[in-house]
């Protein structure tokens, strides 16, 4: 592999690594078909990495129209969802499989 081909590849990997580095991580739990915490505060105008741990045995679908996110999380698994950058405000989300109980909001401030 010549230097002229190697350099762009190394640069790409370096930039990709940079891009992934430095995103604040926040965590949510699903327990008894409820989101804990039901209110999550995150910094506004910042892209964050949300880890959702499903502590129940049954799957849940994390969904939000305001955030434009939907992801099925199997029982006992954890999911990675990227959110933002969000303008300051409140963004509700719910569990599609248990919408009456699994409800929460992300507050960007």
């Amino acid at each position: 592999m010549t230097v002229s081909r190697l350099v762009p590849r190394v640069l790409f990997l370096f930039l990709a690594g940079l891009a992934n580095a430095g995103k604040p991580v926040f965590e949510l739990e699903i327990r008894g078909h409820l989101f804990e915490p039901s209110s999550l505060h995150i910094p506004a105008n910042t892209k964050i990495k949300l880890l959702v741990h499903n502590r129940d045995k049954t799957p849940e679908e994390f969904e939000s129209y305001e955030l434009n996110r939907e992801k099925v999380i199997l029982g006992g698994q954890k999911a990675v969802i990227f959110i933002g950058p969000l303008k300051p405000g409140s963004y509700p989300f719910f569990g599609e499989f248990n919408p009456k109980t699994a409800q929460g909001e992300i507050i960007a401030e």
Partner: protein, 269 residues
């Protein structure tokens, strides 16, 4: 549990059912047989079960965003194949050739992919919650109602499309297919944004006009991939696919109609 099951089943069934109804009605315009459906439905159903069963593996790929990437892949594939299928139908209307293998292959693939995605979620939901004894009866009732409603809406859609002349059905179907393909690509972009492979943003918020939470909003979501607050990437992708598809399909319809007129005016030997 009952009302939740109705809504979930309805949402999942609607997306696949619109595609199948569209295919059946355009196939009718030039007498193509529907035997491809006999292969597509079992194939899609098996793919759905396989997808649901391998979800833990898929979800872990690409640093935890494997689900998003596989969803986006199937959505973009449908977005490309759907207008191509309509192109095949438009061409077939004017040919005497009986060889529609490629066309049937296209429709089978699109249907199977749609069934895989929607069926996968239905299978996950049912298999999980059927294991909870106190919810079983409401789960059965709700799912039956939801699936039944979805199939009824699909049937209505099919009969509405068939109520026109062959050429008008093709024209309306071409426009609808372009909008569905555009919606699919918008949803594909949503998956890439969720996976952090594409940037997020909010170009506008039309939830005041039409909320995604409403019945009409859900219908528009199933049919056209409606998003109340899309990002710039999503909007650009939507209109690119829509305009490209409309341009190709409508120009082909126009060219073939001219070809028919020319043939009609030429003296028979």
């Amino acid at each position: 549990m009952l009302s939740t099951s109705v809504i979930i089943m309805l949402r999942e069934v609607l997306e696949a059912v619109f595609l199948v109804s569209l295919f059946l009605s355009v196939s009718r315009t030039h007498g193509i047989s529907n035997r491809w459906l006999v292969i597509a439905v079992p194939l899609g159903s098996m793919a759905a079960i396989a997808y649901a069963a391998s979800l833990p593996l898929i979800a872990g790929l690409f640093d935890g965003v494997g689900q998003e990437i596989s969803n986006a892949l199937s959505q973009f594939t449908i977005a490309i194949l759907l207008p191509l299928c309509l192109l095949g139908h438009i061409r077939a209307l004017n040919q005497t050739s009986d060889n529609n293998t490629l066309l049937k292959l296209g429709m089978t693939t699109v249907t199977a992919l749609a069934l895989m995605r929607e069926g996968g979620e239905i299978y996950l939901y049912l298999s999980a919650f059927l294991g909870v004894p106190e919810w079983r009866s409401s789960l059965y009732a709700g799912s039956s109602i939801g699936i039944g409603l979805g199939l009824s809406i699909g049937a209505l859609f099919y009969f509405w499309l068939c109520s026109f002349s062959a050429r008008r059905t093709l024209l309306i179907s071409s426009i609808l297919a372009s909008m569905i393909a555009a919606g699919m690509s918008l949803q594909g972009c949503k998956m890439l944004i969720q996976a952090d492979w594409m940037n997020d943003g909010q170009l506008w918020d039309s939830s005041g006009l039409l909320s995604e939470d409403s019945a009409t909003g859900q219908l528009f979501y199933a049919l056209f991939g409606y998003e109340a607050s899309p990002s710039a990437n999503q909007v650009a992708c939507y209109f690119t696919v829509l305009l490209l598809s409309l341009a190709v399909l409508l120009s082909t319809m126009f060219k073939t109609s001219n070809a028919i007129k020319t043939r009609a005016t030429q003296p028979t030997p």
